[in-house]
């Protein structure tokens, strides 16, 4: 038969309950509150660290980007300048070459004209010599041969023909 304790009476239960509460507190603190809280704090810290790190990297990346953009802009500018310079130089060279070619061509024309002139003079001279020698030969022939009126005329005619032919041929 179970006995009942008084409803409102202090007994050993009081001591037991104080000890029970303290024991439960110590165990729950060790098993539940401390590890969970520490884990949450650690995670918070880790997330904070990660975010900070990401921010830092982002900042660095932005700085790099800016730097490279400036560099790129410089390079473009440089490239434009180089092209401009090259174009100017090429223009100059082009003009020079053209001028040189012009000069050379005119010089060559002059040379050619002079040559032609010289050749002309030379040919004239040769012709004169030829005519002179022919005249001599003819005179020789006339002198060597005894000629009559008829022969004479014939000869002159022949000579004239010869000369005319020669002149026509040249």
């Amino acid at each position: 038969m179970l006995e009942y304790a008084k409803l409102v009476a202090f007994n050993w239960t009081f001591v037991f309950q104080i000890l029970n509460t303290i024991i439960l507190f110590l165990i729950l603190r060790k098993l539940l509150f401390k590890p969970v809280k520490e884990m949450m704090l650690a995670r918070q810290q880790r997330i904070q660290d990660t975010v900070d790190e990401a921010d830092e990297i982002n900042k660095q990346a932005q700085a790099f980007k800016k730097e490279y953009e400036i560099k790129l802009e410089n390079i473009k500018e440089e490239g434009r300048e180089i092209i401009k310079a090259a174009r100017l130089k090429a223009d100059e060279q082009y003009k020079e070459i053209i001028n040189e070619a012009h000069e050379r061509a005119s010089m060559m024309i002059k040379h050619a004209e002079a040559e032609i002139e010289r050749e002309n003079i030379k040919a004239m001279n040769e012709l004169k010599n030829e005519i002179t020698s022919l005249a001599f030969i003819t005179v020789e022939k006339v002198l060597k041969k005894k000629l009559d009126e008829k022969d004479h005329n014939e000869l002159i005619q022949k000579f004239l023909e010869e000369v005319g032919e020669a002149e026509w041929q040249s």
Partner: protein, 232 residues
């Protein structure tokens, strides 16, 4: 030995040391809480999922409640506040499983109130120094010293009997109700005590769930407020 509303004596050790129903039920609650803590914190991972989220939420709630009520520098009280809260919730709702709530025993509530009393005065002395603590007793003027002492002593008594009264009142009303319903079905001559099936649940909701949770909250809040008030 006593009335039948008192806790049953389970075992009597030599020298008059009695182990009552209250103590046994407290042990069961302790074991349940410890097993819960073990099971839920065993597979803790860096990235929380499932039950871990719930546990973290509860622990975080306890810490933030402590911080809000007591202040940021007194977060160290959170484990005790949490232990007290979990124990009281389980103890007050213990009637729902048909067992006697440990808080329906004046020894349990007094034990908890005495711990609060010790916390109040220990941390008051620790934070103000013994001089500041004693000076606080004669404020606003020395004539009020007896009143201050009575006030200090009244705190644990009111804490203990508020909780005890609420829970034991509910317990008595519930057992009277069960008795009345059983008597009613017997009077009508029903072979099955049908009235005991549905009607008590409404009263359980009020006396056990509502009153129990509310009283747990009140006890915990008052403990926090008294301790932090005496510290500042």
């Amino acid at each position: 030995m006593g009335s039948e509303f008192g806790p049953k004596i389970i075992y009597e050790l030599p020298g008059g040391v009695v182990i009552t129903e209250t103590v046994v039920n407290t042990w069961i609650i302790m074991i349940v809480l410890i097993i819960f803590s073990l099971v839920f914190t065993r597979k803790f991972e860096k990235i929380p999922k499932g039950a871990q989220n719930v546990v973290e939420m509860i622990v975080d709630l306890v810490y933030s409640l402590t911080e809000q009520v007591m202040g940021k520098n007194k977060q160290g009280f959170a484990p005790y506040v949490g232990t007290l809260f979990f124990f009281l919730i389980f103890a007050n709702l213990w009637g729902l499983v048909g067992l006697r709530p440990p808080t329906a025993d004046v020894n349990t509530t007094s034990a908890l109130a005495i711990i609060t009393f010790v916390l109040i005065h220990f941390f008051s002395i620790k934070s103000k120094g013994i001089k500041g603590y004693l000076k606080g007793k004669i404020e606003p003027f020395p004539l009020l010293l007896p009143l201050n002492i009575i006030g200090d002593l009244a705190t644990p008594i009111s804490l203990a009997f508020r909780l005890f009264g609420n829970i034991v009142g509910g317990l008595i009303i519930m057992s009277l109700l069960y008795g009345a319903l059983a008597g009613l079905s017997m009077k009508i001559g029903l072979p099955i005590p049908i009235f005991e099936a549905g009607i008590p649940s409404i009263f359980h909701i009020y006396f056990d769930v509502f009153s129990g949770v509310l009283q747990s909250f009140i006890f915990v809040m008052l403990t926090m407020v008294f301790v932090s008030m005496e510290m500042d």
